[in-house]
């Protein structure tokens, strides 16, 4: 299943005195099984863009095709689209409302009109995927859980829709390092094991660098860069110009290169820079 975005424009508060162009001529194809990191500073249009992916916002002009279905077409079943493209908002725990964990996760599948057995199966499966113990937690109140658990319940609520594409808007916002690691770990697993297409909006370059296979950079409502992390992160100057950071490994590689060290281009992971430094040190040792 793919998502195709053609000449997408979105104007916010059209006609009013505060009219702003939030998205400008976006053309993208998201293919099956990709892991995309979507980055850009606040106000660059990335949140607006992801809400187009499941028809929560309709384009001012242009088209969004999910599996060939045009979202602006009245005949398109939006609920079916929202089932296929799951969207996890920022601080998703703020949307929990049911009395128990189980009921809350079941909300999505229920809206799909599934039968009891299927709903129960999906709840269990979703809880397993986010590493929550069903037996221990299913009848607990969502408001008794820890922050990290609440977030995982909320993600499970979207996973229970069994989407083929999962879009996450800053899934780690506000979590401590352990919580961050847990969430990133389960997203990675979801991608690797279930083959779910992932679009992850993030402010953390290091998270994107370690997970994404493709990086899309938004700036002023436009796609400024789109490519492999290696290629995108090698444009440190441009990224900084857009108010973004580069992973520390990239910074270090650049600085060492300036000092005349033989560090290969395109390095962006800590492990890679470690190898490179070891190689340099080894060479120097051999010369000596």
């Amino acid at each position: 299943m793919s998502i195709v975005i053609e000449h997408l424009n979105y104007v916010y508060m059209a006609g009013g005195p505060y009219e702003t162009k939030a998205l400008n001529d976006i053309n993208l194809t998201i293919s099956d099984g990709e892991f995309i990191g979507l980055i850009g500073h606040t106000g660059s249009g990335k949140s607006t863009l992801v809400q187009h992916l499941n028809g929560l916002i309709m384009p001012t002009s242009g088209r969004v095709l999910v599996d060939g279905m045009d979202l602006a077409d009245k005949a398109t079943d939006r609920r079916a689209v929202r089932q296929r493209v799951g969207l996890v908002f920022q601080y998703p725990e703020n949307q929990l409302f049911e009395e128990t964990v189980e009921k809350d996760i079941a909300f999505g599948p229920k809206n799909l009109g599934l039968d009891e057995n299927e709903i129960a199966r999906r709840v269990k499966d979703a809880m397993r995927r986010v590493a929550l113990d069903y037996d221990k937690l299913h009848d607990r109140s969502v408001f008794e859980l820890s922050g990290g658990q609440m977030r995982r319940v909320a993600i499970a609520g979207v996973l229970a829709m069994e989407p083929q594409v999962l879009v996450l808007d800053e899934p780690c916002a506000g979590l401590d390092p352990r919580g961050r690691e847990e969430i990133l770990g389960l997203i990675k697993k979801l991608h690797e094991e279930a083959g779910t297409t992932i679009v992850m909006v993030s402010h953390s370059m290091d998270d994107v660098a370690s997970l994404a296979e493709r990086v899309i950079v938004m700036n002023h409502g436009e796609v400024a860069m789109d490519g492999a992390p290696r290629d995108v992160f090698s444009c440190g100057e441009e990224l900084r110009g857009m108010g973004l950071d580069v992973p520390q490994a990239v910074q270090l590689a650049g600085r060492l290169r300036e000092r005349g060290f033989d560090i290969p281009e395109g390095i962006y992971l800590i492990e890679e820079i470690r190898e490179a430094i070891l190689k340099v040190a080894g060479k120097e040792a051999a010369h000596a």
Partner: protein, 268 residues
């Protein structure tokens, strides 16, 4: 339709009306409404209209904008109009349908009452359009301050109004977000009958209330941390001061009321 409501909106500006002390504006608005309710004949209403028109022009707002503000309230106005037609007893029958007769008195009363409502709405609109919510709360608090002697919670009310105004945009934004998040899980807020729709609101309202309570809790702690201890011994950044402008306005209003009263006696 919501955006048609001019009542409660602020129209930034720097006119003489804008610069008046909010307390005086509050007092004069009440005086104007009382004046309008004393009017009992058509020339009197024309006078009231003329006076309002003058004020609106000084404030630099288009009169149409004010008049538009009456539109959302048209049903209430029509309702009172009809109610008056039916329930006011009169003698001069204009025409008779057997079970009900339209009398001249009822018609007159209905028209006057509807006009009073229209003037009430327009008069209050002028107040809110020319006074920022902050000034309005300040004005109200200070006008009500003498009542504190009788344990009337003037400061608390003003503080509540301020906090409500501060959090309305935040909660609106939040509502939009929760609604979208639930729609992403297949929730449907638009179709179905009334009961189905009311039920569909639960996934929206529960998180909203939870969030509002959490915010209230946070805010209470933040206020405490900044030495909040109620209204006693509190000072304010902005002191309200009556100026010449307020004196002129007061005189103008006094003249208007005097003319209304005189005119009422003459034509009564």
């Amino acid at each position: 339709m919501l955006k048609d409501i001019t009542l409660g909106q602020y129209f930034p500006g720097d006119s003489a009306i804008h610069r008046m002390d909010p307390r005086m504006k509050l007092i004069l608005t009440i005086a104007y409404i009382v004046g309008v309710f004393m009017v009992g004949n058509l020339p009197g209403y024309l006078l009231a209209l003329g006076f309002l028109y003058l004020v609106v022009r000084i404030a630099g707002i288009s009169f149409r904008y004010i008049a538009k503000g009456v539109k959302p309230l048209r049903f209430i106005i029509i309702f009172t109009f009809v109610l008056n037609l039916f329930f006011v007893q009169g003698e001069t029958v204009l025409f008779d349908l057997g079970f009900w007769a339209l009398t001249k008195e009822a018609l007159q009363n209905a028209i006057y009452f509807a006009l009073r409502l229209v003037f009430l709405v327009m008069g209050t609109s002028v107040l809110t359009l020319t006074t920022s919510p902050v000034q309005l709360t300040d004005g109200l608090e200070r006008l009500m301050r003498p009542l504190q002697r009788f344990h009337f919670p003037a400061h608390e009310l003003a503080m509540m109004m301020t906090i409500a105004l501060r959090f309305i945009p935040t909660l609106l934004e939040e509502t939009d977000k929760i609604q979208k998040a639930q729609m992403a899980r297949g929730a449907d807020f638009e179709s179905g009958n009334l009961i189905a729709r009311a039920k569909a609101m639960i996934p929206l309202l529960v998180p909203l209330f939870v969030s509002a309570f959490r915010r209230a809790n946070d805010l209470a702690m933040a206020m405490e941390a900044r030495c909040y201890r109620g209204g006693d011994h509190r000072t304010r950044l902005r002191e309200l001061k009556y100026t010449k402008l307020d004196a002129i306005a007061l005189a103008g209003m006094a003249a208007f009321i005097a003319i209304i009263v005189l005119e009422g006696r003459l034509l009564g």
